[in-house]
């Protein structure tokens, strides 16, 4: 890893957060691509991918529930970790900090709605 990069490096296949675990941080992808996996009844499905600049892990922060999915590195990636307390303190001072997260969540709901509708039509 070059010295000019920020965050923590994860190798190909390394898990950043695991479905079912309790988490007290959220993440921002700095470089590289990650895959989002969901496990149900012993079967694992790829439910999305994450790219540079994207935020994940926010659901466990707002809902205080176990992680809803597993996120794995695809190739070498760099991820920045934000701990819950520091993040919520910053949002408390400046609620507009959460705007981009809302935007991303809204985009993900839109994608999910389309997916549900596609599955129902099939």
């Amino acid at each position: 890893m070059t010295e000019e990069l920020l965050g923590r490096e994860y190798q190909d296949g390394e898990v950043i957060c695991r479905q079912g675990d309790y988490g007290d941080c959220l993440y921002v992808v700095q470089r590289g691509q990650l895959v989002v996996l969901h496990e149900k009844d012993g079967r694992t499905a790829v439910v999305g991918e994450l790219n540079s600049g994207e935020i994940f892990g926010e659901m466990a922060i707002f809902e205080r529930l176990p992680r809803s999915a597993t996120v794995k590195a695809q190739g070498n990636v760099l991820v920045l970790t934000l701990d819950r307390r520091a993040f919520l303190r910053a949002v408390h001072e400046d609620p507009s900090l959460a705007y981009r997260i809302l935007q991303m969540m809204s985009h993900r709901i839109r994608m999910l709605t389309e997916e549900v509708s596609r599955l129902q039509a099939a």
């Binding site: 010295e3 000019e4 990069l5 920020l6 965050g7 981009r100």
Partner: protein, 447 residues
């Protein structure tokens, strides 16, 4: 009617450092969110691509953990062409010993950058400065950069007038982001701002050319902090960059003698190769830093952001520029541009920075006192180094040191954390253990 920004409103930003650029960036971003069409001009005569003081806003060049994280959440990228080194730890040097403290997860959470085009003895330009990067982000949002000094300002029928070298333009709002190292205060007074200007002290910064491989070998990705019992020196830092080391000294009347005594101190010499000595003629400056805020940072249609208003004491000045710039932009777009709007929505953030600095004064006062008391200093180092191997993850002292010297938490919170019985008990216990160890070592030493 109280003034607000409307479609077609024009905003002048005096100064294109981080505060000015971030203000323009957020103002234009927020305006777009509510379909408000405003024009922003940034007056910045400097060319941040030029090496040496001519293209530099003179500063240590550290982007704190909190700011790195806030920028990441905002989607403001700090590319490897700007970040010279990701910092994952700091090493505290005192004359009784050294301790290294890592970030949680050993993550590179702090960025070291050059503010301008780089030191004047730069040979190869591999990185761009932070200021140029932020200014170009503001331009991408639609801000215009006017590469000229502001000659004069005034009022014309309730609108602001800004006179450049050849042109006079009128505006609805003016954001002052001139820092404390350029002339700007008279302009604000002309516009009717009645305020006590910020109080400043002089610092000393020098850029040592060391070579990338040598920087990595001797300083790694750690920020090195020095608490030494040298009279007039409050604290010092060596910040590893790409090919250079930035050395910052904060204290009173920093002169050649104090600088020489700093580099000659055994704790500093130990960090460098044996034969190394500071080369004469290295790029250096003595910028002022804001140590007490301007008492009144706004009037109707005028708001001061960044260092010419308030900043965090000694640490995270760029973080304070971010906070004040964003709060002022938020106020202007979502509330209004009258003094009453800034009082209601901007002042709480501004005042919280200023009030927190009072706790910072107390904290740095304690640090100043402790660095003269070797048994307590040894206690701090011992407690922090034991914590690095603590199986239960109890890192109270390390976190207090980390947050104090990196500016990652409000000073008030740090002071309150040190006042708990567990912290004080741990510190006292650590000091006694360190004293016992030191006594044992001395009694074993051959006479």
């Amino acid at each position: 009617m109280a003034p607000v920004l409307e479609n077609g409103s024009r905003v002048a930003v005096i100064g294109g450092g981080p505060a000015g650029s971030l203000f323009a960036y957020f103002l234009l971003t927020f305006a777009r969110r509510v379909d408000l069409d405003v024009a922003v001009d940034i007056y910045e005569p400097r060319d941040f691509t030029k090496a040496g003081p001519i293209g530099c806003n003179m500063c240590g060049g550290i982007i704190s953990e909190t700011l790195v994280q806030a920028l990441a959440v905002e989607g403001i990228d700090l590319p490897p062409t700007v970040v010279q080194r990701g910092i994952d730890s700091y090493v505290l040097h005192t004359d009784t010993g050294t301790v290294r403290i890592d970030t949680p997860l050993r993550e590179r959470r702090i960025a070291s950058v050059h503010r301008g085009g780089g030191p004047r003895d730069l040979e190869e330009r591999r990185w761009g400065g932070l200021d140029g990067h932020l200014l170009s982000l503001a331009q991408q949002q639609g801000a215009q950069v006017i590469a000229s000094k502001v000659g004069d300002v005034g009022w014309d029928n309730g609108r602001l007038e800004v006179r450049g070298k050849t042109t006079t333009r009128s505006y609805d709002l003016l954001a002052g982001a001139t820092g404390v190292n350029s002339i700007g205060w008279q302009l604000y007074e002309k516009l009717g701002l009645r305020s006590r200007p910020p109080q400043t002290v002089k610092t000393y910064i020098t850029e040592l050319k060391f070579g990338s491989a040598m920087v990595t070998k001797y300083f790694g990705s750690s920020m090195h902090l020095f608490l030494l019992p040298l009279p007039r020196l409050d604290c010092a830092a060596i910040i590893p960059k790409g090919d250079f080391l930035t050395v910052c000294l904060i204290g009173r009347q920093i002169d050649d003698d104090l600088i020489a005594r700093f580099f000659a101190h055994p704790s500093v010499k130990r960090c460098f190769p044996e034969s190394w000595a500071p080369a004469p003629g290295a790029c250096h400056c003595s910028p002022k830093i804001n140590v007490r805020e301007a008492s009144q940072p706004f009037t109707d249609r005028v708001v001061l952001i960044g260092d010419c208003g308030a900043t965090r004491l000694y640490k995270d000045g760029i973080g304070a520029a971010f906070r004040t710039a964003k709060a002022a932009a938020r106020t202007a777009v979502f509330s209004g541009i009258a003094a009453a709007d800034f009082k209601r929505h901007y002042w709480p953030i501004y005042h919280s920075i200023a009030r927190d600095n009072q706790y910072g004064m107390v904290l740095f006062g304690i640090v100043d006192w402790i660095k003269m008391l070797r048994p307590l200093l040894r206690g701090i180092l011992h407690t922090a180094s034991v914590e690095q191997y603590s199986p239960n993850g109890d890192r109270r002292m390390s976190l207090v040191l980390w947050d104090t010297f990196t500016g990652s938490a409000p000073y008030r919170e740090i002071v309150l954390r040190t006042l708990t019985p567990r912290f004080l008990g741990g510190f006292l216990g650590g000091s006694l253990r360190a004293a016992a160890l030191s006594w044992r070592e001395r009694s074993r030493a051959p006479r």
